[in-house]
């Protein structure tokens, strides 16, 4: 999903997340944030945070 975000393909990122949401149920799927000082990670985290809401 993060690959799509950094490639700015938000539609594919949202679809990927949605397919897992259907498999696990909304209560059992979490969006994972990381901060390892890797380029692009903070940009991806902001979008991931938006998706999680």
């Amino acid at each position: 999903m993060n690959g799509h975000i950094l490639g700015e393909d938000m539609r594919k990122a949202a679809d990927a997340l949605d397919s897992y949401r259907q498999i696990f149920g909304p209560e059992n799927l979490y969006v994972e944030l990381m901060s390892h000082g890797v380029d692009g990670q903070m940009q991806a985290n902001r979008q991931l945070l938006a998706f999680s809401q």
């Binding site: 999903m1 993060n2 690959g3 799509h4 950094l6 594919k12 990927a16 997340l17 397919s19 897992y20 498999i23 696990f24 059992n28 799927l29 979490y30 969006v31 994972e32 944030l33 990381m34 890797v38 990670q41 991806a44 991931l48």
Partner: protein
Amino acid sequence: MTPQSFVHLHLHTEFSLLDGANRIDELLDRAQELRMPAVAMTDHGNMFGAMKFYKAARERGINPILGCEAYVSPTTRFDRSKQGISAAAHHLTLLATNYEGYQNLARLISKAHLEGFYYRPRIDKDLLAQHATGLIGFDGLSQGAR
């Protein structure tokens, strides 16, 4: 956050082959020192360390959470047409929330090795949908779902 409330939920041990530096006993000694109530183990594509980790955590009064950072084929686990290790699979971290979840995780990871091996032991979304009960999934890592 106090040390007592922090729990690692995505963690690689020495059983993340060629990738994990955390020795199970040293890791759990440190978690005990820091008064962490639980620790998860999510090795890459395998659960080889699960029994050792479970017993060692219990001995220290730490709640072991068994999991795996699974490899998921972008198509099916039988598809071996993609070229290259990074195209063959993305990552999905799974945690068992109960005994049924552990059994499902064991089934998924066994089938990944027996049926889905191509560069990596891979599952697919169909198999996951059949064995998702009792499991939590995380997506978001740089090599997550595509």
